[in-house]
C-alpha cells in the first residue's frame, strides 16, 4: 500500500485515521478530501490510490458514490468504509457498491490499524447482521442469471457468522484455517459486488441508459 485517499469531513478524524494508517503502512502517501465532489473529480482525473477510506455521510452526498466510481474505474483500489455506524442498514449499500471492509471512526487507532491490516491482508470483517443480510441476498430463490451462487462452504461460513461466532470459531468449527475463512469472506463480498453491478447494468438497460 503506497497511496491512500481519505474522504472525511471532520479534521480530527483525518488526524486520527492518518495516525492509524501511518502505523500500519509506514510512509504511505495520504491524500485528504473533505467533500465528495472533490474526491469524485480526483477519481476521474488522477491515478487511483491503492486504498480509500470513505465516510458515508458527507455534507454533499454519500460516500457510496465514490466507492461505486472507484470500483468501476480502478478495481484494484481497496475501498474501506470509515463511519460512525456499523449496522447492516448503513453498510450493505457500501458493500454492494464494492467496499471490502468497514471500521468505526471512534475505535481506538490501534483497533483501526489492526482492522486495516486485516483488510489489506485479505481478512475483511464480517458481523452477524451483515452475514444475515448476505445470506438473504444469496438465498436460492433470489438466484437469477446475474447472481453467482455461493458455494456450500461460503454459505456455511455465513451461517456460522450469522449465529454470532467469530471468524476464528468458524474456522475451528469447519476444520479449516482462519485464513481460508477470510478467503471465503472476500469471495462472498466479491460475488455481492458482481451481482450488484449486474443488477445496476440491467436496470440501466431497462431504463434506456445503455
Amino acid at each position: 500500500m503506497k497511496s491512500v485517499w481519505v474522504l472525511e469531513d471532520l479534521p480530527e478524524s483525518h488526524v486520527w485515521l492518518g495516525k492509524a494508517l501511518e502505523a500500519v503502512f509506514p510512509g504511505i502517501a495520504v491524500q485528504r478530501y473533505s467533500r465528495l465532489a472533490d474526491a469524485l473529480e480526483a477519481a476521474r482525473t488522477q491515478p487511483p490510490p491503492d486504498l480509500a477510506l470513505v465516510d458515508l455521510s458527507l455534507p454533499d452526498g454519500s460516500g457510496v458514490t465514490l466507492i461505486k466510481l472507484l470500483n468501476d474505474l480502478a478495481p484494484r483500489t481497496v475501498c474501506v468504509v470509515a463511519s460512525i455506524y456499523d449496522d447492516d442498514l448503513h453498510l450493505m449499500p457500501a458493500l454492494r457498491a464494492g467496499a471490502q471492509g468497514f471500521l468505526l471512526k471512534d475505535q481506538s487507532w490501534e483497533q483501526i490499524a489492526e482492522l486495516l491490516r486485516g483488510i489489506a491482508e485479505g481478512r475483511p470483517p464480517l458481523s452477524p447482521a451483515i452475514a444475515r443480510r448476505l445470506l438473504a441476498h444469496f438465498r436460492p430463490q433470489m438466484h437469477n442469471f446475474m447472481t453467482e451462487p455461493l458455494t456450500q462452504r461460503e454459505t456455511e461460513v455465513l451461517g456460522i457468522i450469522a449465529k454470532g461466532m467469530t471468524l476464528a470459531e468458524a474456522a475451528r468449527l469447519l476444520g479449516i484455517s482462519s485464513h481460508t475463512v477470510s478467503g471465503y469472506t472476500k469471495e462472498i463480498y466479491r460475488k455481492l459486488n458482481v451481482s450488484s453491478r449486474a443488477e445496476a447494468a440491467l436496470t440501466a438497460r431497462n431504463i434506456g441508459l445503455v
Binding site: 460512525i84 455506524y85 456499523d86 449496522d87 442498514l89 471512534d106 475505535q107 481506538s108 458481523s127 452477524p128 447482521a129 444475515r132 457468522i161 450469522a162 449465529k163 454470532g164 461466532m165 467469530t166 470459531e169
Partner: protein, 623 residues
Amino acid sequence: MAYWRLYSLLFFFLLVPAQAQSGPAVRMLDQATVTISASVTPPGSVPDAPIALPDDWHDTSSTLPDQRWYHLTFDDGGWSLPAIYVERACTNLEVWINGQLVGSGGSMVEPLTRNCYFPQLVRFQRNLLQATHNRLDIRVVGYPQERVASRQRAGGLSQVLIGEQAELALRYDPRLFWSITLAQVIGICMLLVGLVIAALGWVRRQDRHNLYFGLGLVLWSIMGMRLHVQHLPMTVVASEILFTALYAPFAYAVVQFLLHYVGQQRRWVQRVLMLQCVAVPLLLLLTPAHTLAATATALYVVLGCEFVLSFTIFARQSWRFMRGDFWFMGANLILLLALTAAEIAIQSGWLALPKIHLIHFAMPVISFGMGLRLVRQFATALSEAERLNRELEQRVADKTAEIEHSYAELSDLRAEQAAATERQRIASDLHDDLGAQLVTIAQASLYATDITRVAELARQALTDMRLSVRGLTGEPTPLPHVLADWRSETVERLTLAGVTVLWNTDDPPMHWVLPARIQVQVTRILREVVSNVIRHSGARRCWVDIHVSNDQLRIGVEDDGHGFDTSQASQGQGLGNMQRRARVLGGTLEIGPRQVGGTSIRLDVALALKSEDQATGSGGAFP
C-alpha cells in the same frame, strides 16, 4: 271482501237444485206398499196397506241389515228411453221391473255399498213394459235411524220418478255433482289446505293455532268421506261408530285452535279433550246398537257446547285484544255455530232433512275463509319479519361501521400513545444517558488526569447513541438474531481483553421476536456488565448463560475475577444505571459474589413474546 262474494255464490248454488221442475214426460211415484222380507227376489204377495214416499225407517228390531221391498205400480208413459230416478235410497237399492232386475247400486249384503248420498238413475229397455200396471219393485237395505248416528244415513226411500232418460238426467246430474263430486273436490282441497296450514303450525311453534286449525281441516275432510266413499271394508254400524268417534279429535282441534288463537290455552283443557278422544269411541262401542243415534246426538250437543264455550272465550279475548279478528273470525264462527245448531236440530228431527248436507258444504267455505285469513296472517308476519330483518341488518351495518370507525380512532389513538411513550423513552435515554455522559466528558476533559478516560467516555456515548438510533428505527428483531449479535459483541470484546468466554444459550424459534425496547435496554445492560468484567474483575474466564422462554428472559454472567463489594460507592454510577434500566423493563438485576470467587450477575426480564407478523401488525412500540 272477497269472502262475502264467495258465500253469496255458494248460497245461490244451493238454491239451484230446488228449482228443478217436473216436465210432462216425467211421472212421480209417491205411493207404495212395503214388505219387510229378506228375500232376494221380489216377494209374491203384496200387502194392502199403502204408504207415502219418502219413507224414513225407524227401528223395527228386525235382523240386520234391514231389508224392505217397495212395490209400486205405473202405466207406460210412452217413453222411448225410459229410466227411473231415485233421489235417495239408503243404504243401497236394487230395481226390478216386472220381475226383471234392471239396476243395482252394488253390494246388498254387509259390507254394504254406501249409496245414501248418491242419486240413482236406472235405465231399462222399454220392451220390458206393459201398457198398464207395470210392477216396480225396489229392494232397499239399510239401517233404521236409531242405529246410525245421522239422519242422513238412516234407511229410507225417496219419491221415485219415472220418465224419459234425458229428462231425468237433468235432475240426476246436478244432484250427483252437488252431493258427490263437489264433496270430493272439497274434501281433497280441505285435506291439502289443512296439511299446509298444519305444516306451518308445526314448523313455527309460536303459531301453534295453525297446527290445530290444519288438524281440524284434515279431520273434517276425513269425516267428509262419508259422503262420497261407497265402499268401506266394514259394516255400516262400524263405520258409523268410527266416523262419529272422529268428532272427538275434531272438537279437540277446534277448541285448541280457538284457545291458542287468543292465547288462552290451558293444560287441563288439553287433557280433558284428549281424554274425550279416548272416551268417545269407548262410549260408542259400548252403547246399545239401537241407541247409537241418540248417543251420537247427545255427543253432538256436548261437543257443540264445548265449541260454544271456547268460542265465548275466543270472542271475549278477541273483542278485547284483536278487534279485527273478532269481526272476521267471529262472523265465520257464528255462521258455523248456526250450522251446528241446525245440524243438531236436523238430527233430532226438529227440522226436515234437507236435500243437501248443509254443514258439509258450508263448513269448507268457512274454513277456507278462515284458512286464507290464517295464511294471510302468516304472510303478513313473514313480510313483517323480513322488514324487521332488513332493518336489523341495516342497524347492524350502521353499528359495524360505527364500531369500525371507533376502532380506527382508538387504534390511531393507541398508536399515537405508543409513539408518544416511545418518544418519551428516547428523550429520557438521550437526557439520562447521553446527557450524563456528555457532562462527564465535559468535566473530565478539563480536569481529568487521564485523557484516554475522556476518549473512552466519548466512545461509550457514541456506542449508546448508535443503539438508541437502532431502537428508534429498528424493527422488532427475531430472538435468534439478537442472541447472535450479543454473542458476537460479547465474545469479541472479552476475547480482545484476554478473557475466555463460555457462551451458553437456548435456541429459541425464529418467530419469537424481541421488542426493540427490550433489545436496546438489555444490550446496554449486557455491555455494561461486560465492561465491568473487562475493567474491574481481573477475570480470566467468563460464563454467559441466556435462557429464553416465551414469558421470561434470564441472563446470567459469572466471572472468576476477584469480585467486588457491592456497597462500594465508586461503582455506583454504572451499577445504578443497570439497575434503573432493569427496572424500566420491569425486570430485576441481582449482583452478588460468586460462591467460588468472582462475581455473579443475574438479569430477569418478563417477556410477552409475539411472533414476527403479530409484532409488526399490532402497532406496538415501533410501528
